[in-house]
Amino acid sequence: MSRSVTSVRAVVWRETRSSTIIVTVLIAGVIEIGLRSFVASGGAAGMLGLIPLVRNPAVAALYGRVSNLDNGGVFVVWKMGAFLLLTVAMWAALAATRLTRAHEDDGSWDVLVLGRHNRDSVLRTTTLVLAEMGATVGAASWLVLLAGGQTPGGSAYFALGVVATAWSGAVVGLLAAQVVAPRRSASQVALAVVVVAFFIRVVADASPSTQWLRDATFFGWVEKVGAFQPTDGTALVPALAGPVIVVGIVWWLQGRRDVGGALWTHPDSASAKPFLLGSTWTFAWRERSSVWRWWTVGLAAFGGILGYLTHALVSLAKTDPGYVALLTRWGFGAMVTGIGFIALSSVVMSVAFTFLVVSWISSVASDEVKGRLDVAFATGPRRVAWLVSVVTSALLAVTIAAAATIVTMWCGVRLSGTSMSIATVAEAVLSALGLVPFMVGGTIWLVSRAPRVTFAVGSIFVLVTYVVQALGPILNWPALVLQSDPFHYLRAVPVQPFDLGGLAWVSLVGVVVGVLGLWRYVRRDVVS
């Protein structure tokens, strides 16, 4: 490889090195926790009672379809696979838009494509690095599974599934970057495609009659491989070849546009739209309204799907009371009623709500680092007013998103033929907002202490604490660890009582941390 190409490769890798390490460690850690929880749950024998649950359409829709739970690897596939693959796909898509569209937008691409290089070679190198990133995560998955005593073949198929998912997410990002400008729009489109692909898999697994939909999404192809189960290795062909083919389309598209151009972009000119520019409070909303739209539509759609799946679980409970008793012993008893399923689903949705809040408030730090707030802070409102206005808009955004989710979830429940009042659904969804005060305070603190990595650290915190809450009890982790986790205090309301004391305590911690963060924020140097 020529020295100049090596240089481009080194530059691109340097940009993605940190996120690759973080995602690799996260994925490996979650797999390891999954393997240990399988052992702690009694292994294959202990999983026998879960088989009816695994085959339930509603559960299959959420977690994916597996044929058995007789080894740790398939338990990881079932319990964590959906979460792992969605995370990998979204990370790869965002990395792809950052490495391509973002560089074209800020002009740094111009430097790379001059001299010895051309656009094709730089895009090829970037694509290669994205492929290596996916391979890195896949390799880590394979090693962790092998070290955990899983079969080499099953581990390899799982790892290749992770690689295929990463590659698929990456080409979605690459394609979005060619078609859409600027970077923010390209990232939104890429994430939307990944989420829609995930939803298609969810719908595909909800019923035998919709299984064919798995062929319409890379999540479906990876599932069809069936790692640690009766395996269909041929499903790997479209899963791995698909991204390669799309990459060819990406390269073809690049050759047909200017650097910095796109097939679709917001017009360079527009008429004046002075609305919501009159104060920091209104501008905080206007600046982030497109993000809010995507989040609200996504959450509402997910809520509707969850609501629609309620009936499948209710039907199961009616046919097998003994199964209900077994699930109750496992701690899944709440899921066999419609209300219980809605309640547990809302706990899952709390992750999305907290992500919305973290990303919304993190944008203040992002704007500061980019220098956009220099004039505002030097000649305009107080910093505290700016930050508080963003926090207020975040609370409004998450409230509206929750309201939309309540409506769509209830509609889904009703469409499924289940009887449930909208008040019950509202109780469940609103209880999922219980961690918002804590996350607001924590994010403010991060903005004050680490503005350059606020979003990354905040996101990782949400993911890690959710995983600890989900799997810690199964692994018999110390009570101190579990009680230190904010998700520990979220209950499956209304099936379980709202933990007012616990959430009040967590919220108080959030308020204290937030106040300390605010104090620090107005006293530190403005970063740029």
Partner: protein, 293 residues
């Protein structure tokens, strides 16, 4: 005594173990234009950001019209143009100016319209579609339109074409004549030379000199090209430098030129061309010397 527009008093700013601003003291009076010169990394932008309250001094103080930098009162009286203009890319120029006006709280709308016309800015374009120079125009219009009592400008003409540079100079002169104080950090020495009454020079975070522009020029001296045979001028009082030319010599004189002209009387000199030292030469004379330990 009238309150100073800007009063920087023994200011120090450390970033970890790096001292970016080293005991800088300088002031700016209302109606004055002061230039701030220094090589890259000398501490100019840091000093400006300290004066705006964006950075906290390690020691020392900064006051704007008697108010601590960064206070509500100071922010209401200051306008700022950053060295690298970064704003919200999806907003149009007009929306950006509307936003900047509402953030500052007081802006002359009619003057904004006038400035848009003078700077020939197409305000319908989104900021991401602007060239660097046009983004700079947005920031300049936003700053001048506030009619703020103190203008802190960090390389304000960066990216502007010569015609727009002239418009900028006109705006500075108008602002000065209205009694506004302007603190201008620039690499455009000719611009500083024409606009500023005083120049502050900084190097490695230290202030090396603050002086009137004319005083600096006098200090460096006047240069004469002597065409013809003038004999040996190196020993003449006031002559500090002699350089051979193909058709004569070039001499630099400080102080009174009388001994020099007296020496030329009776010589076979056919022409004498004189010019004052430029600010560039003054600037380079300070930075060609190694820094003090």
């Amino acid at each position: 005594m009238a309150t100073r527009a800007l009063d920087i008093n023994d200011m120090v700013k450390d970033f970890g173990t790096t001292r970016a601003v080293d005991h800088v003291s300088l002031s700016l009076e209302p109606g004055e234009v002061v230039g701030f010169l220094g090589p890259n990394g000398a501490g100019k932008s840091t000093t400006l950001r300290l004066a705006l309250g964006l950075l906290r001094p390690t020691s020392g103080s900064v006051h704007v019209l008697g108010f601590p930098a960064g206070s509500d009162e100071a922010r209401a009286r200051v306008a700022y143009v950053a060295g690298d203009v970064s704003l919200w890319p999806q907003l149009t120029g007009e929306d950006t100016l509307t936003l900047l006006a509402s953030l500052h709280g007081s802006t002359d709308g009619a003057y904004t319209t006038e400035l848009i016309e003078r700077f020939e800015l197409d305000t319908r374009k989104r900021l991401r579609a602007y060239s660097k120079g046009n983004r700079q125009k947005v920031a300049l219009i936003g700053a001048f339109a506030t009619r703020a009592e103190v203008l802190l400008l960090d390389e304000p003409t960066s990216g502007l074409d010569p015609l727009m540079e002239r418009v900028f100079r006109e705006c500075v002169v108008e602002a000065r004549d209205r009694g506004q104080a302007i603190f201008l950090s620039s690499h455009m020495l000719s611009e500083v030379e024409h606009l500023c009454s005083r120049v502050a020079m900084v190097r490695d975070g230290k202030l090396v000199n603050v002086a009137d522009v004319t005083e600096l020029q006098t200090r460096i001296g006047v240069e004469f090209d002597v065409i013809g045979d003038a004999g040996d001028l190196s020993t003449i009082t006031g002559v500090t430098h002699v350089e051979e030319l193909p058709d004569g010599v070039r001499v630099r004189i400080t102080g009174s030129p009388v001994p020099f002209f007296a020496a030329l009387a009776g010589s076979k000199v056919t022409a004498v061309h004189g010019r004052e030292a430029s600010l560039e030469e003054i600037f380079l004379s300070y930075y060609d010397e190694p820094a003090a330990p």
